[in-house]
Amino acid sequence: MADVTTLPEAIRALVRDGDSVALEGFTHLIPFAAGHEIVRQGRRDLELIRMTPDLIYDQLIGMGCARRLVFSWGGNPGVGSLHRLRDAVENGWPGPLELEEHSHAGMANRYAAGASNLPFAVLRGYRGTDLEPRTNVAPITCPFTGEELTAVPALRPDVGIVHAQRADREGNVQLWGIVGIQKEVVLAAERSLVTVEEIVDDLEPRPGAIVIPKWAITAVAEAPRGAHPSYAHSYYDRDNDFYKAWDAIARDRDAFKAWMEEHVLWSTTPTR
């Protein structure tokens, strides 16, 4: 049954040094507030898992929280590079970062396999690319047709963290708009945290919304504007100006550290 708690309490209870942690949200509903709380609590040696590392993992990597990154597309969408990710990979700053890289289809299927309690998923992909020998996939033959396919191992993170629009007081969660991979991550993870824009008395039905029941979630915490600078559909828009501004902040180590000190380490309120 979901424990409806505060964000600092939830991170303290759920995320341990050395854990594999997946903070998901495909452009929409990225759990920035939860990521910032992980930084503030000084978690270390994390295996960070995310299809699109985005600014949130640029920040966690730059602050030295990660030893390993599992991902499929590590850029600043429409802007360019994630400079902290690049600095870690190209120069080992602030420490070395091990990479395990996949395609989007591979990562999506890995989460779906985890949620399905299967050891692997099967897809047509990777074959003939330079990704295939560099990553953790294996060829597999269809026992019925003989077709050569690719097996990808299930993702079962220690902790799965997503953001959603709202929850009721019992911890049932409702989200809508681009639903991404949110449900799969919650169901694939050993422990799960959902941060929400608001906690309400009743989850009024919404077109296209999905509900994740309280008994499938470990903890729920309120975090208003907790997805900023990404967005929460019906609450606030994606802050595209901030995504553009991040390029200059993250390009320089000192500018990055100063920004993180001011906006994350010494602050518990959303960045804007």
């Binding site: 590590g74 590079s81 990979v89 289809a105 990704l131 708009g177 991404g180 559909h233």
Partner: protein, 229 residues
């Protein structure tokens, strides 16, 4: 009407898209070109973004593949596993529209790394949705600026494989894959010599090499309107 090389490239790419086709769109130049096509000759084109939006009709160009406008204007919004498994792998995509950092003569695309994988000179974002889009769409439109750094004889990393039916639109011309990339059109004002110099291999040229129609006033007006919105 005066135009620059990027505008010519975007317009030429938009023209490749046919009305009514189902198109899986990458962000950036592909998304710009696809939305230009939708505003011009292909009002019935179905745009699919990898965030799970099907039939998006954005009113302004999205910065990311998951901007709210894409979901609000979509016919349907599905999960990420569903978009890749049911819709792409399910064989429902006519055209994949992709960018890349590097391309080789066989149309293979690199969006992963420049230099050695373990000690990269430049770490690029990575493959994302491209490998499966390139392999599973019925045809592929690639849009990429042409230079010795991007048109390379030895590709640093094969993120996505060249497709049997692939057209490559650059700021210099139009190339179609016929076993290997073959230059079939030069944009107005571009010389064959320029195209050869911007290519890291001995460029194959079509016998009937022709010139791209320059952008019409209407195409330029709409493109500029899209970019200003």
């Amino acid at each position: 009407m005066e135009h620059d090389a990027d505008e010519m490239m975007t317009v030429a790419a938009a023209r490749e898209l046919r009305d009514g086709e189902v198109c899986f769109v990458g962000i950036g130049l592909p998304s710009t070109a696809a939305n230009l096509a939708r505003g011009m000759h292909a009002p019935e084109v179905v745009l699919i973004y990898e965030s799970g939006t099907i039939g998006s009709k954005p009113t302004r160009l999205p910065l990311s593949i998951g901007d709210g406008d894409l979901a609000e204007t979509a016919d349907s919004v599905v999960s990420v596993p569903e978009i890749f498994n049911y819709w792409l792998q399910g064989g429902r995509i006519d055209v994949g529209f992709l960018g890349a950092a590097q391309i080789d003569r066989h149309g293979n695309l690199n969006s992963t790394v420049i230099g050695a994988y373990d000690e990269p000179k430049v770490r690029l974002p990575g493959a994302g949705g491209a490998p499966e889009i390139a392999a599973q769409a019925r045809r592929v439109i690639t849009i990429i600026r042409q230079s010795p750094r991007s048109f390379v004889s030895e590709i640093g990393f094969k993120s996505s494989l060249g497709a049997a039916d692939q057209v490559v639109i650059t700021d210099l011309g139009v190339l179609r894959r016929d076993g290997e990339l073959t230059l079939e059109k030069l944009h107005p004002g571009v010389t064959l010599e320029q195209a050869r110099e911007a290519t890291g291999w001995d460029l194959r040229v079509a016998d009937d090499l022709s010139e791209t129609e320059p952008p019409t006033a209407e195409e330029l007006r709409l493109l500029r309107e899209l970019k200003a919105a």
